[in-house]
């Protein structure tokens, strides 16, 4: 379930963050085609989708994934090319929240 914008502005269609269970579902649904990473203007170094998916939900976050999470501008360029309609930006936001909680985001 996508969390639409607050009442009154729902028509404009800005999607807010997702919960951990929704992120887990999205990660499970990812087919690993790499389209989101190819469309990302923030990704500067070669990160594989497997590594990103593995580190997004839980566990340790490598330096390259951390740099990528910090560089992600939530522009949503990754959403349109996904053949299964997943929201990589929401997954990256979850990664950002995890980094924030561990003190890594924004440093």
């Amino acid at each position: 379930m996508l969390r639409k914008a607050l009442p009154g502005r729902a028509d404009s269609g800005v999607l807010l963050h997702k919960t951990s269970s929704q992120i887990a579902q999205e990660l499970q649904a990812c087919i690993g085609c790499n389209e989101c990473l190819l469309a990302c203007p923030a990704l500067a170094e070669p990160i594989t989708i497997d590594v990103l998916n593995r580190e997004t939900f839980s566990g340790p976050i490598s330096a390259s994934v951390e740099r990528y999470a910090r560089a992600c501008s939530q522009c949503g360029a990754c959403v349109a090319p996904c053949p299964v309609g997943l929201h990589r930006d929401a997954m990256m936001m979850w990664l950002k929240v995890r980094l924030l909680r561990s003190g890594g985001e924004g440093q």
Binding site: L16, S20, C40, K96, V97
Partner: protein
């Protein structure tokens, strides 16, 4: 690093040429040879900045990280284009087509710089707001608080429903008709009357005939949808929050989460709309530049034809 170096070298060469030409040539103006050279180079770099990035975005054969490099070149070429077009003016800022085109280019570059800053700052702010709206387990905090409030309300509703004299608590929920059957002695009336007539039980004894079996007005109002429990003015229950202990804290927490989500939404709108503003400025600048080129061509072509 390579891109920065290339940008600095090209800009350095352009500025050095501008300085040398301004000192040595008596014709340091936008329609001089150097002026035209700067105009052509500036336009070329502007086209490169726009076209290369747009093309790369649409290209299917991409490598991971290629789009990032392309975005970096987009910024480098845009800065070079802006500086070269500025040099093309040779300090002439008369209110003509070229000046408006230059202003458009400056606005475009400024929007790009501001957008780049926003892209760095705003996602971090979104993460902070999202963090407020999620529990430590990553679940929806609004749902979690709503559940707690609901539990408190249910608990208090049960307490209020049971707020009756001792001995009558067990009667809550029974039909009102039954509850209104009270014997004259004050105790609850049994359904099994000891009176019989021709082996048939008498359900309504004659001495209770004057007691109405209909619900009392008080009972009716209590069971109505709009029934509101109003405690006595001297009661402890009139104290603010006494009926819902802990609920106020949860409600204010809920409002804080809602505010966080509103802020998150606003930040997401910023990310979305700066790009649209940037693209709108591209279109405006393109229009102004075409207008300026047409204007310049109208002046140049007759001169070239009469040579």
């Amino acid at each position: 690093m390579k891109r920065l170096l290339v940008t600095i070298v090209i800009l350095g060469a352009g500025i050095a040429f501008y300085a040398w030409y301004s000192r040595t040539s008596p014709d340091a103006s936008p329609d001089s040879i150097a002026g035209y050279a700067f105009a052509i180079l500036g336009t070329l770099f502007a086209i490169l900045a726009g076209v290369l990035f747009a093309r790369r975005r649409r290209l299917h054969k991409k490598r991971v990280g290629q789009l990032h490099a392309s975005l970096q070149w987009h910024m480098c070429f845009a800065v070079i284009a802006l500086v070269f077009l500025f040099l093309h003016s040779f300090g002439n800022f008369n209110p003509r087509t070229g000046t408006y085109a230059l202003y458009g280019m400056i606005a475009l570059a400024v929007s790009g710089f501001v957008g780049k800053m926003l892209d760095r700052l705003v996602p971090h702010m979104i993460a902070q707001e999202a963090n407020k709206a999620l529990t430590m387990e990553g679940e929806d905090r609004i749902e979690s608080i709503s559940d707690k409030i609901e539990a408190i309300v249910e608990h208090n509703s049960a307490t209020i429903s049971g707020f009756s004299p001792a001995g009558q608590v067990g009667q809550v929920g029974k039909p009102s008709r039954e509850r209104s059957l009270v014997s004259l002695s004050g105790g609850p009336l049994s359904n099994h009357f000891p009176f019989e007539y021709q082996n048939q039980p008498l359900h309504t004894p004659w001495d209770l005939a004057y007691i109405s079996l209909e619900a009392t007005p008080q009972e009716l109002s209590r069971e109505a949808g709009q029934y509101r429990f109003i405690p006595d003015k001297k009661s402890e229950l009139t104290r603010p929050g006494a009926l819902l202990p802990g609920a106020q804290e949860h409600i204010s927490e809920l409002r804080e989460v809602e505010r966080a989500m509103q802020r998150e939404q606003f930040y997401r709108y910023i990310i979305r709309y700066w790009r649209r503003v940037h693209i709108a400025l591209v279109i405006v600048t393109l229009g102004l530049t075409i207008w300026h080129i047409v204007y310049a061509a109208e002046l140049l072509i007759p001169v070239l034809l009469h040579r």
